[in-house]
Every structure is written in structure tokens, then in C-alpha cells.
């Protein structure tokens, strides 16, 4: 058996694949965050909560109404997106143009609120969600057993990421969004309905988070605090990629999944520190992240 630093090659390949899968998750989550920061300059500390809402909604919709996975895949993000738009309309809008820090505080408050209410309603142990039947089982790739569901996650997550990137970087709508970020008032002076655009963008950003939440429901423990743990890791990913860089968030997401996976293989205790270490190093070398525009 070929060994690399004392790890069999087969195991290593498996770990790499797992890394990519997790990376796809990070990509999806950090993408939403990057869209919201990049386009609205909102530091969305409620992103974890929106992810959680997506997962919780999936479970609750199933328990209460028997809504199946496929419907939930659309319905849950939609509901969370609408919730996000309401949050934007009634709360975030009032602090537009203020320092970033206020958006951080406000969304942090919203996250605490949402999380706290759900904790009181549903507890913290988690809600049960069964794997959809068609995803049960997996294939043996030789070097590892790949559950079908993980294969699906990687495919759909990357597809959504690419679609979003294309829409923002290559379409007129995307240009409106980018310009609106810089000088919303002037854009509005040109005749663009900026407030609506902002609502939709925020709604879309949190939809991405909620979508990741739905994907997570069958494989992770669904609890009101599931988002708060992953939040700053996802932030780190966005920063490494360069805040506001849509493509950067995607690529870095996948990259960080892999790096974290490798750390989990070679030196597991460092696996949660490694992303922060990478971040410090990257920002030393490139002050605005890997793909950030220079200031």
C-alpha cells in the first residue's frame, strides 16, 4: 500500500474527497455571506441563524405538513428568503449607509433572537430528520464508501455556486447590484429601484444559507444552535477569499474544506484552528484576501 506521511494513499484520497464535499458546503454558505457583504456591505452575523432556519424549516415542514425533501429544497429557502426580506425591510434598511459595525450588531441581535426563541420552542438536542429513501446507501469507490447523499450535496452545491457567480459577475442585474453597493443613492438617482434590489439581494443571500441548511438536515444534527458554531468559520472563509469576491468565496470554500480535511487526517486537534492560521498567513501576504480587490 502506498503511504504518504504514514497515511495510506487510499485513506488520503478519501479524505480529499470528503474535504471537497465539506468545501462545497462552505462554499455555499460563504457565497451567501459574500453576496450580502459584497453587495450590501452588511456583515451578516445572522447568516448562521438563516442556515439553521433552513434546516429547522425542513424538519418542521415535514413533521407538521409532511412536506417531503424535494419540496422542502425549494420551499424552505423561499420561506427563509421572505423572512430575510422582511428583516431587511423592517430592520436593516434603517441602518443603510451607517458603519458596517452596526449591521454586525443588528444581525447578531437578530441571530440571538431567532436562536433563543427556537431554543425555547424546540430545545437544543436536535430534531430528527430521516434521510430521503432514494439517498440511502452509497457506492464503494474503492478507496472509500461514498454515501449517495454526499455525492448529491457536492453536485448541487457547486451548481448553485456557479449559477450565482454567473448572475452577479456577468449580468446587468449583477452590475446594478455592484454599483448599488457603492453609491445606492446615485443608482437610485439613475432610476434603479435600489430599495427593492437590496431586499431581493438580502433575501437571496439568506436563501443560499437556508438552502445549505436543507442540504444539512439529513446529515447533521438539526438544532437551533447549529448555525452559531459554523458562523465564524464561514466568515473566515469569506475573508480568506477576499470580502465581497463572489468567485473567491466559492474557490476558497472548497480549498478550505480540503485543507481542513487534510488537517483532520494529519493532525486532528488543529483542524479547527487551521482555517484561522491560514487566514492570518494569507492576510499577511495578501492584505485583501486571495481574490479581494486591492484597496
Amino acid at each position: 500500500m502506498t503511504m504518504i506521511f504514514g497515511v495510506p494513499l487510499a485513506v488520503l484520497s478519501g479524505q480529499l474527497l470528503i474535504g471537497v464535499i465539506n468545501g462545497a458546503f462552505y462554499a455555499l454558505l460563504s457565497l451567501g455571506l459574500a453576496v450580502i457583504f459584497g453587495l450590501l456591505k452588511i456583515i451578516n452575523f445572522a447568516h448562521g441563524a438563516m442556515y439553521m432556519l433552513g434546516a429547522m424549516a425542513t424538519v418542521i415542514l415535514f413533521d407538521a405538513l409532511g412536506v417531503n425533501y424535494w419540496v422542502a429544497l425549494f420551499l424552505a429557502p423561499l420561506l427563509v428568503g421572505v423572512f430575510g426580506m422582511l428583516v431587511e425591510y423592517f430592520l436593516l434598511r434603517r441602518i443603510a449607509g451607517q458603519d458596517h459595525i452596526y449591521s454586525l450588531l443588528l444581525t447578531f441581535g437578530i441571530a440571538l433572537l431567532v436562536q433563543g426563541v427556537l431554543t425555547n420552542l424546540y430545545g437544543v438536542s436536535g430534531l430528527r430528520y430521516a434521510m430521503p429513501d432514494m439517498f440511502k446507501g452509497g457506492i464503494n469507490l474503492g478507496f472509500m464508501f461514498l454515501p449517495y447523499y454526499r455525492a448529491w450535496v457536492i453536485g448541487v452545491a457547486l451548481l448553485v455556486c456557479f449559477g450565482t457567480w454567473f448572475m452577479i459577475e456577468k449580468t446587468k442585474l449583477g452590475a446594478y447590484l455592484r454599483a448599488g453597493t457603492e453609491d445606492a443613492q446615485l443608482m437610485q438617482g439613475f432610476g434603479v429601484n435600489v430599495p427593492l434590489l437590496v431586499s431581493l439581494t438580502y433575501g437571496f443571500g439568506v436563501m443560499l444559507a437556508a438552502f445549505a441548511g436543507v442540504l444539512a438536515a439529513p446529515i447533521y444534527s438539526v438544532t437551533p444552535v447549529m448555525g452559531s458554531h459554523i458562523l465564524i468559520v464561514v466568515f473566515a472563509v469569506v475573508v480568506i477569499g477576499g470580502m465581497g469576491s463572489i468567485g473567491g468565496a466559492i474557490i476558497t470554500g472548497v480549498l478550505m474544506g480540503v485543507i481542513e480535511g487534510l488537517t483532520k487526517t494529519f493532525y486532528p486537534p488543529a483542524s479547527s484552528a487551521v482555517i484561522f492560521l491560514v487566514m492570518v498567513v494569507v492576510l499577511m501576504v495578501r492584505p485583501t484576501g486571495l481574490f479581494g480587490k486591492e484597496a
Binding site: 452590475a175 455592484r178 454599483a179 453597493t181 457603492e182 443613492q185 446615485l186 438617482g189 430599495p195
Partner: protein, 240 residues
Amino acid sequence: MTHASNREYEQLRISGLHAFYGESHILHGIDLVVHRGELVTLLGRNGAGRSTTLKAIMNMVGRRTGSIMVNGEETMACAPHHIARLGVGYCPEHRGIFSSLNVQENLTLPPVVRSGGMSLEEIYTMFPNLYERRFSQGTKLSGGEQQMLAMARILRTGANMLLLDEITEGLAPVIVEKLGDVLVALKNKGLTIVLVEQNFHFAAPLADRHYVVEHGQIVEEIRADELSAKQSVLDSYLGV
């Protein structure tokens, strides 16, 4: 549609306009009228409130009272994007070039609000600098190039009333001259133009009328044909 009837058409009527930035009261009752096809300038010293008047028309100041009619429609309750849709094109004092877009994207950004705007080719012919730098980041342009870009992009939208704030600022004399020609051409096409200018030499031959703004009020209205007669009044207002 005769030229004469056009002249009578009130494209813009402002009455009793007050405007505030937070605590500070900037405009103290502006009254003015601009007819279709007219070119009117707002003159005054630094800080008189000319830029603020344009911003107030676009609903871009903190708070306003009074009345602003565009095309006979009251706009005090309108959001800025509705005002733009009425055919108003605004070129701000500080240019507002978007750094996340390249020059061409900046140029094509403002949505077309009416037909009859200039085409991209026409604009590039007019400003060859912009053509040359069309793929570089908007804010990497030189100061003057940014000024050209800011002006050029509203020509594309087909707006029939232009609010232009210090558009010759920082431009080389050749370009200023060219801009003068452009404004004449636009006027001949029937566009209405409100021009805020420090460069009186540039504005004087173009304008039909001048309003002098001081301390947030209109203190004098001078028609082009009265210019020489009222020169001394004007000089004293402008502190010459």
C-alpha cells in the same frame, strides 16, 4: 409641436423649497421655473446651495419641504428612482464613478429612461479617452476622465432634463470646449438643462437665463440679453 409651444412648457417648477441636512437648514425657499428646451444656470459662491438644489430635485437631501413639479407632476413624495424615470438625468458634483465596474460598465449602467439617448459609439467618438480606457476600473481613471465619464453616462439614458453639477471641473480646456459644443447640440435637440457652474465663461454663451443663489435663496434672475446690463450686480454677487 412647435418650438414656441415647447418654450412655454414648464419642465421644472420649484416653489418654496427648503432643504435640510440633519440639523442644518440649507435651502431657504427656492423658487424657479425652467421651460422645456431651456438652458439655465445656477450661479453663486461656494456653499450658496446650488448643488443642494439639484440634489433636492432628485430627493437626495435629508429633508425637504415646498414643491417641486417635474413635467407638471408633483415629486415631493417620489423616491429618487421615480424622479429619474420622469426623464431626469443627474450628474453629481463628485462624479460618483463606480470602482467595482469598468469604464464601459459604468457607461452602460444607468437604465435608459426614454428613447433618443446617444449611442455608445457616439459617446466614444466624443470622448476618445474613454474608449481607450474602456476596460479599466472606473476609479482608476484620471480626475478629468472620471468627469467625462460621469457626464457621458447620462447622455445615454435619453433623459430630457439634465441636472449638471460642475461638469467642467478639472477638465482640460480642449475638452471644456468640446463639452460646450455638446451642450449646444443637446439644447438644439430640445433637452432642458440646469447647469451649476463656477466657470462663468463657459456658461455665459450657452445659457438662456441665470439664477443667482445666495444663502439658499434665489436672489437674482438674469436673462442672457440682460447680461451686460446687470453685469455689475452679478459681479457683486459672485464676489468679483
